[in-house]
């Protein structure tokens, strides 16, 4: 009997632990997703700034990360997630959903274009990454809360 209680307890603990894991809030998930996009931008930016040697494979890895971001971001801003986890999501995401969706579509198109271009030189990288960076900026401008510190 004691044994059954123990097993139940362990199972229950496991259940809550894993469900806790699985139910990581969307606010947290989208934060992590944006962080991954930012981290992927660093090597590309380093090359554009002349701090890193151009490397076609590294650039493509970054594009792939952005492609994943583009695929996942749309589902991570549901109704009811306007606040929480110090989110920097701006209310315009919910009040102007069409505009936000357009930004996501622009981002997807820019990333697809970059992958398609598969840049083989620094100049080509500049051409490929430019439109992606442009969407990062314009979407943040309209749909992210600015922490003027």
């Amino acid at each position: 009997m004691m044994r059954v209680t123990w097993i139940t307890a362990v199972l229950a603990a496991l259940f809550f632990a894993t469900s806790g894991w699985a139910s990581e809030s969307v606010q947290e998930q989208r934060h992590d997703l944006m962080e991954s996009a930012k981290d992927a931008a660093k090597p590309v930016g380093g090359m554009l700034k002349g701090e890193l040697e151009f490397d076609a494979a590294t650039a493509m890895e970054s594009f792939q990360v952005w492609s994943d971001v583009a695929a996942q971001a749309g589902d991570l801003f549901p109704e009811g997630s306007e606040t929480g986890y110090d989110t920097e999501a701006k209310e315009t995401i919910w009040t102007d959903r069409d505009g936000f969706n357009q930004q996501l579509a622009d981002f997807t198109a820019a990333v697809d274009g970059a992958i398609e271009a598969s840049p083989q030189s620094l100049d080509e990288l500049k051409m490929a990454a430019g439109p992606v960076f442009k969407v990062c900026k314009s979407c943040h401008e309209g749909y992210r809360v600015e922490d003027e510190n």
């Binding site: 931008a41 554009l48 002349g50 701090e51 960076f133 990062c136 943040h140 401008e141 922490d147 003027e148």
Partner: protein, 291 residues
């Protein structure tokens, strides 16, 4: 704060009356302008460096209302519309406005218009700027009068303020012969008017040049404007290449994006040639590091 402003206002008013002759708006006469054939292509660069559109709008039609402790400033129409813009202005009118803060009808402008920075410009650049602005599209938009609280509504008092704060000298002199630094200094201290937001102001609204570019409260909203000196509270961790790249792309070294009122500034800076952004970076890495 309100009370001290009222006291300051009263003191200023008395001073203004006593010093009436000193507060007369200054103007240049046509003979003061140098011989210079206007170059509208350079004028376009000056236009971007000056960030005219940041306040006056993409079409320069004005109308933006800037709320402040002194009342509401209404941004004028500076498109070349004859009736509601500045289409009827002469080149001399623009020089007097930008470099002396004096309007064509001989009144002081409020220093919300950053003539305290533009006063350091080369007059040739202002002449070129006029030639470029004349090529732009006129937009009819009557923005109406300024809406300042008393006593700020009395423009004459600005004459006194100008005696204190209208200074054409460099803020951070080079002390060495470096044309790149000098170009950067010129862009930051005059046309770019970076100090207007990035330098804290005193109670009279004058820039505290001893705290040059060390950041300050956000003039048009909450929060603050960052320190951009090479101090650890500022841009110490940014390389010159980081600064130039930020102005070109809008991305910080951490690959965050530019935000707030800096977006429009950065987009104007992106229109300058590479060496100009590099010059700005050189200057910002060389000025005194302040907390």
């Amino acid at each position: 704060m309100k009370k001290s402003i009222t006291w300051l206002a009263a003191t200023l008013l008395v001073l203004a009356l006593v010093s009436w002759p000193l507060t007369s708006p200054l103007s240049l006469s046509p003979a003061d302008l140098p011989e210079h054939i206007a170059n509208p292509a350079n004028g376009e660069l000056v236009f971007h460096a000056g960030g005219c559109t940041s306040c006056h709008g993409e079409t320069l039609a004005g109308g933006l209302e800037l709320k402040s402790d002194y009342g509401t400033f209404v941004v004028p129409n500076i498109s070349p519309d004859l009736a509601t813009g500045i289409g009827s202005w002469t080149t001399l009118d623009l020089v007097n406005a930008m470099m002396l803060g004096t309007s064509p009808d001989g009144n002081h402008y409020y220093p919300a218009f950053p003539f305290t920075s533009y006063t350091r410009m080369n007059v040739q650049d202002v002449i070129d700027l006029k030639a470029y602005m004349d090529t732009l599209e006129p937009v009819e938009n009557d923005v109406g009068p300024q809406d300042l609280d008393f006593p700020w509504s009395l423009r004459r008092g600005i004459g006194l303020w100008k005696l204190l704060y209208l200074d054409q000298g460099p803020v951070v002199p080079a002390g060495r012969e470096d044309p790149v630094y000098e170009r950067g200094r010129y862009l930051v201290e005059s046309a770019g008017h970076c100090g207007e937001c990035h330098t804290p102001r005193n109670l009279l609204g004058g820039l505290q040049t001893s705290r040059w570019l060390s950041g300050g409260p956000n003039p048009d909203g909450e929060g603050s404007v960052p320190n951009i000196t090479p101090h650890q509270d500022g841009l110490a961790s940014w390389s010159a290449a980081d600064i130039a790249y930020y102005l070109e792309s809008g991305f910080t070294p951490d690959f965050d994006t530019v935000g707030g009122s800096m977006v429009k500034v950065q987009e104007n800076m992106a229109l300058l040639p590479d060496p100009d952004r590099e010059a700005i970076a050189t200057y910002l890495k060389a000025i005194p590091a302040l907390p």
